[in-house]
Structure formats: C-alpha cells, structure tokens
Assembly symmetry: C3
Homo-oligomer: 159 residues x 3
C-alpha cells in the first residue's frame, strides 16, 4: 500500500460518507454535486444482476437527468414524509488508472415516519466508479444493487 | 492528508469503536472513562434539531453527571434486561485546532431480549467533539441525534 | 501508529469486507480460501460466553471441516432460498506478534427471501485472529458471537 493509495482510500471513504449524509439530511441539491457531469446513476434489483437482465428500476445517464429527478421530487413532495438513515459497511477501493477507482460497500437504509416509527427500508450494495477531476473525487458511476425488487414504498429519495 | 491527520482519524475511529463496544458489553463504568471531565453528553430528537428546539431527552454537562446516571442505572436495574448491539457506519473527522476534532457517524442500535428476540431499537447520528489531553483522545462532547422522539422502551443504557 | 501498523489495519479491513462479500454473493468455495489450513471457525451464543459455557452452535477445527460443511450445504440446498446482506461496523485491530493480529467488529446480517421480504436475521460480534502466511492475511480463528441462541431459521449459510 503506497501513501497515495492510502490517501485515495481515505478521500473516497469520506466521499461515501458525505453521499449518505446529504441524502439523510435531505440536502439533495448538494448531493448532486458529488457526481461528474457524465455520471451514470442506476438502481438495479439483485435478481436482475444474477440473471444478466440489466433492466434498472431507475436510470440516469448524466447529471442533468439527476437534476430533473430532484426537481420533480421537490415539486411532488412539498413536505418530506420520512427520514432516511444510511448505514454503510466497510469500503473496498481499487485503483483502475491514474485518476479512476472502483469502490464497493454494503448498505442498509432505515426509514422513520413522521409518527416516529423506524423500520428497515432497503439493503443492498454499491458498485461505484470514482473519478478525480481537478483534484476533486466524484462519482462517475453509482450502481445501487437492491436486495429485492419489492421496495416497500415508492422510491422517492435516492438510495 | 498528512500522516498526522491520518493517525488522528485512525485513533478516533478506534475510540468510536471502543465507545460502542463498552456499551454493548455493559461495561459502563469503563465507558465513562472515554469522556473528558467537562464533557457534555446530549441525546436530542431529530425533529428538535430541525426546528431549532434544542431541548434534549438527556443532558449531562460534566462527567460527574454521567457517573451519577450510571450509578442510578446500576441500582435500578439489578439485572440487565436486554443486550445492545451498535453498528456504526463510516466515520468523518475534521481537525478544528491542534488538539480538537469533530467526528460524525451514523449508527443503528439493535436490542436482543433475554427471550432471544432481536429488533431495531434506534437509528441516528453522532455529532461529536474529540479532544486530546495528555496524549489521550476523549469525547469532549457527544451529541446523539435520534431519528425519532418515540423511543420504544425506556432509554436505560446510553446510545 | 507506524506505517506498517496502518497497512496491516488496511489489509485486514479489506479481508473482513471480502469475507462478508463472498458470503453475500454465495461464493462459499472462495470464502473458504480466506482461512488458514488449521483455522478454527466457531459460532457461540452470547449467553454462553458470559456464563463461561463455551459450547458452540457450530465448530470447525480445521479447513477440511469447513470444506465438508460447504459441500453438504451445496447438496442439501440445490437452490439458494434467501440472500444474505452483512453490514460490518468499524473494525479494531491489534498486533499480537510479527505476523499475528486480533480483529474485532460488530455485524448485522439481513436476509431477503425469494418473495422479496427483507428482515433482520442476526446481530453479533466477530472476535478473530488473523495470521500472515507467505504475505497473505488469513483467518486463523473466526469466532462469531451471536446475540441470541434463538436463530430464527436454520443456520444454513455461514455468518
């Protein structure tokens, strides 16, 4: 492990934490800024991955599509109807080229309703590509593999 | 990232792990020793944070108050009625001065009853201040922001 | 913290992630390769640990026993009846000798049925010994302390 490798792991770990922190704090406009302009964001059920059926539940193929998604989310839900809480397990990173890494981690998301009930909402895995542009680490691809096609409520906020 | 910064992150991560390990093992007298003498320990519901109502569920403004709390906990509960299990997600640290850091992380706590049933107990977030005194890293402030005011059972053990 | 210590922590963290990744992806034959030939694998309920009753739920005292277990698991369950998802909390490592470490972490395992229902399956703690052999870090001992003796379904896949 070189010092450069250790530093990249450290910075990517911080990026992953910021990613879920911004969702959990409902700061989705800031969350978008963690992506590159050409970023791909996909949510796929695990069943499809294992059967090589790549049909995603959600697919955004650039940052503008993510912006649109957040805009419509804001107009559809004037009030936030639940709180999210991400717990992200230990992170693995691998350098792919001078400025590109893959990053994987498991996650569990819990939701708390306005009535104060917390429950398990989704478990799954991130399989991401990270790129460094002008010194900043950003998601070039975020793939969320959800453990089940059956998502208990509408997928309003991102995972 | 300097070597000193990386080392501080590493040590604070270990402190965070020890914090939840000691609660989960019901070693609360040792757990107190992770705090500075002037430490503040607060549990606040997320609703209050977002509405700028700082009224805490629990507030201890120094280590002696924490000691009193553990003493009364011990006399009230002769037998431990459940097991706690903390899962703490990835940690973010930021140096604030030569010997002070902020540290944030999300957590989920599960409880297992003596009958052997495990369930989700609480999710939330730590927003802490860490201070180094005589070479040891300690909590100068521990703020537990719980995702719901509605805590399913009495808050007996710390979060 | 020396650079060697930081590197060992980094590599052991990656080993822990690979461990749960391989179980969650049902790649149990690869999972076995994370153990030394003389590895001990034990699952013990927390109650037994606290009462000094070391009777394990599962005990394998070398790698061949682990291989047998996976072989019979494969013939008994032609189809995988659920998906596992491990979330492993922050890791603590301690060097014990030149090539040996202890490693501890808390975990939560969620299971998703083929019908798409996810639920909490098990919480507990790993208390492991890691050994470096020919440059590779492997589990010399994996102790899984489950928070309850009452495991809701048959313990088919490893924890």
């Amino acid at each position: 492990m070189s010092a450069a490798e250790a530093e990249a792991h450290f910075v990517i770990s911080d990026l992953m934490s910021e990613y879920s922190e911004l969702i959990d704090q409902d700061r989705l406009e800031d969350w978008i800024e963690l992506f590159t302009e050409d970023a791909v964001y996909r949510i796929i059920p695990r069943e499809n991955v294992e059967q090589n059926l790549p049909a995603p539940i959600i697919l955004c193929t650039n940052k503008n599509m993510l912006r649109d998604r957040i805009t419509s989310l804001r107009s559809a839900n004037e009030y936030n109807l639940h709180y999210d809480r991400h717990i992200v397990g230990s992170l693995r990173t691998k350098r792919q080229s001078a400025d590109a890494w893959t990053a994987t981690a498991s996650y569990a998301v819990f939701q708390t309703t306005l009535e104060g009930q917390s429950r398990l909402f989704s478990t799954g895995r991130y399989e991401d590509r990270i790129r460094r542009e002008n010194g900043a680490y950003r998601f070039a691809e975020k793939v969320v593999i959800v453990d089940t096609f059956s998502v208990p409520t509408l997928l309003a906020t991102p995972l």
